[in-house]
């Protein structure tokens, strides 16, 4: 067992689960989506991205790409949220919440691909 692999798997999975937790529930209902969960998802996703730096294998490159996609989507969601709460006169209404959650839904897809890659890697190199 390698500690590096444990930490790597932990962060990849945690990014996916946090993202899922934020995403689940009615798209346009602000009370079903906790902003702290979005914050945690962004931080964990960023850490997972940095952990994937510097891997020269093909699967490592795809890992990094999916993480970057997830980061992009989550940061976009945070920006929409900041716009709705701070700048927009309408405030955080159902429409704004729906776009935040749907953006995080895209990130969830990327995170799921990451998890699939992790599983594929584990299955194909199980003797390592």
């Amino acid at each position: 067992m390698s500690l590096e692999k444990v930490i790597f798997g932990f962060f990849v999975l945690l990014a996916a689960t946090l993202n899922f937790g934020f995403f689940i529930g009615d798209l346009s209902d602000p009370s079903l989506h906790n902003v702290y969960e979005l914050f945690a998802a962004i931080v964990v996703s960023l850490i997972a991205t940095v952990l994937k730096f510097g891997d020269r294998t093909q699967i490592g490159a795809v890992h990094l790409a999916t993480s970057l996609v997830a980061d992009l989507q989550l940061i976009a969601a945070a920006l929409v949220w900041a716009y709705a709460t701070q700048i927009s006169s309408a405030g955080l209404d159902g429409q704004a919440m729906a776009s935040v959650v749907s953006l995080s839904g895209g990130a969830l897809l990327a995170n799921l691909v990451s998890v699939v890659l992790l599983v594929v890697e584990t299955v194909s190199f199980h003797r390592r």
């Binding site: 730096f53 020269r56 900041a82």
Partner: protein, 595 residues
């Protein structure tokens, strides 16, 4: 001449007989530097993200108070904004309202945390930039990029010692490009100090590694030749092998002092193997037999701007004393004997070789000197591989017999002023011999051909040619260049050449005043495969002839004018003054015939 060297012959690529072309370099070289940075920056970046996340989260959880005094929490947006300017030490103050005590306590902790985080990240990045491996990776990357962007034909010089440097200077003044590969970083750094006209990419890396040779441009389509000039025969062999296997069609010139290695090199393709000691022997024999031929050869081989070497006549009868019987001394002794001279050999090592008249002992010791009977010798060769020993041998020999003809071998370039001060009759510098030899082979094939055929013409002929060169160019050689009387290179000469009465003397005339000859001496005329050495003024030229000239650079430019400009050629060849502008040609009706 030419005992050990063969002209570099081009061999067709062996791709049709099932041999795959090998490639050493891939695209992976380039991106490795970025991966190195990313990998090393993992820990600092994660620390920074964590510190930020904890700070922002804490700030958004700790209750504050709004303007009216009600308890409220800071939003993520405000918290992130606050942390961003605090962590980067900008500090706009407490927003949106003044903080409560609990908030200030937390902010105090986070300020120290974030400063540590930034310091760690920036420090790691700076350390990485100073890192030796990283800098090497960057240098390699820059070198690879420069080489791959070369759009002119270039030579790959492996080994940038004294020979490489001399050769580089000559090649640069010819306008040739080259790339340098050497194991020593100091020598590669010296490239910046040696002021070349063109930019010379250099890499300090193990030259015996085929991958390095590949990176240095062996696989580049514009690479036109490989020179293996390191001090290490083994490395030169590797370079020769690599070049022959990867690019069989490339000409290779390799240096070696060992006949065994030379034999092994020739097993791979047909490299031109140059053995400086061996070449020395050839030069020596030429110098003994025909001093003027030797003088001419040395002058032409020295490259542009070389001064006329002194014409010293070595004694051809009597007994020579050769000190040092290494590979150099051995070669020299054999050549002296072949010329019918008696030779006494002195060497410190008793096992230096089976030699009938060998005296074993330190040559500079008085009793050994006495046994060599220098009083009755005519020549002394100080040929050990130690410059200090050679210098003291010269001094000691002079003392015993001031009339001695003295030849000394100079090993290190740093000793050059000492040998110059000793005023030896004949200075033998292996690196220079090598550089000149390779220069003659590379500069133009016609010069190489001239030098090989020239000794057969005899000493008087050579002395006459040296005189002619001196009259035209002075005591410093101008440039040596080749012209081809083809439609492409000499479009203004077409009709004149085809008329059948094209005398060489009429062509080499000044465009300013055609009664004056140009300061250029034709050395060789090549027609088909037949060559004529030093053609006279009355020689009739034919289309497609190639001529090798030596002369001043201004003469070369004038000749190019005559060959390419119809108005100039009409004046030089026929004495006609033709207007060069289109309008005056129409007005006067005098139009130079094209071709």
């Amino acid at each position: 001449m030419g005992r050990s060297t063969k002209p570099a012959r081009r061999r067709p690529a062996r791709r049709d007989d099932g041999r795959r072309r090998i490639r050493f370099t891939g695209s992976g070289e380039v991106s490795s530097t970025i991966f190195l940075i990313l990998r090393r920056m993992r820990a600092p970046l994660i620390v920074l993200i964590t510190i930020f996340a904890v700070s922002v989260l804490g700030l958004s959880l700790i209750p504050g108070r709004d303007a009216a005094g009600h308890a409220t929490r800071m939003g993520f947006f405000d918290a992130f904004y606050f942390m961003s300017y605090t962590a980067t030490t900008i500090g706009y103050g407490e927003i949106p309202q003044p903080f409560t005590g609990a908030q200030r306590l937390w902010v105090m902790a986070t300020i120290y945390l974030t400063v540590v985080g930034w310091a760690y990240a920036i420090g790691s990045l700076l350390t990485l930039l100073q890192d030796r491996a990283f800098r090497q990776a960057m240098a390699l990357r820059r070198f690879t990029r420069t080489v791959s962007r070369l759009r002119e034909p270039f030579l790959l010089i492996v080994g940038y010692g004294e020979t490489g440097r001399l050769l580089g200077r000559s090649l640069d003044s010819l306008g040739r490009r080259f790339v340098v590969l050497d194991a020593s970083a100091e020598r590669v750094d010296a490239l910046d100090v040696d002021q070349y006209h063109a930019d010379v990419p250099g890499l300090a890396a193990d030259a015996g590694n085929p991958r390095t040779i590949g990176l240095a441009g062996l696989e580049h389509p514009r690479c036109e030749g490989v020179l293996a000039l390191t001090d290490d025969d083994e490395v030169n062999l590797v370079v020769t092998m690599t070049a022959a296997l990867v690019r069989p069609e490339l000409p290779v010139i390799a240096r070696t002092v060992s006949p065994t290695i030379a034999h092994r090199m020739r097993a791979f393709g047909s490299p031109a193997v140059v053995n400086p000691f061996d070449r020395f022997g050839d030069h020596l024999r030429l110098a003994l037999r025909a001093p003027a031929s030797y003088q001419l050869m040395t002058w032409l081989e020295s490259g542009p701007g070389a001064g006329l070497p002194a014409a010293g006549r070595a004694p051809t009868t009597g007994r020579w004393v050769v000190c040092g019987h290494g590979r150099f001394g051995h070669e020299l002794t054999e050549d002296l004997r072949a010329e019918g001279l008696a030779v006494t050999v002195i060497d410190a090592r008793p096992d230096a070789g089976a030699e009938p008249a060998m005296i074993v002992g330190d040559a500079s010791a008085p009793e050994v000197m006495a046994r060599a009977d220098l009083e009755n010798a005519v020549g002394l060769v100080a040929g050990t591989d130690n410059d200090t020993t050679n210098l003291s041998l010269v001094a000691a020999g002079r003392k015993v017999n001031p009339a001695l003809f003295i030849a000394a071998r100079q090993n290190r370039p740093a000793s050059a002023p000492l040998f110059a001060a000793m005023e030896v009759d004949w200075l033998l510098v292996p690196t220079e011999v090598l550089a000149r030899e390779i220069y003659a082979q590379l500069s133009t094939p016609l010069l190489w051909r001239f030098l090989r055929e020239m000794p057969a013409r005899g000493d008087d002929w050579a002395a006459h040619l040296v005189d002619r060169l001196r009259q035209h160019c002075g005591t410093h050689l101008g440039t040596v260049w080749k012209v081809a009387l083809t439609g492409h290179e000499a479009p203004a000469l077409g009709s004149w050449l085809r008329a059948g009465d094209a005398r060489l003397g009429d062509l080499v005339r000044s465009p300013l005043d055609r009664s004056r000859p140009l300061a250029a001496v034709p050395l060789l005329l090549l027609r088909g495969s037949e060559s004529m050495l030093a053609p006279g003024d009355d020689v009739r030229l034919a289309p497609a002839d190639q001529i090798l000239f030596a002369g001043r650079p201004s003469a070369r430019r004038s000749l190019v004018d005559t060959m390419t400009n119809d108005a100039v050629s009409a004046y030089v060849l026929r004495g006609m003054s033709v207007p060069s502008g289109w309008l005056w040609q129409r007005v006067t009706g005098r139009v130079p015939r094209i071709g």
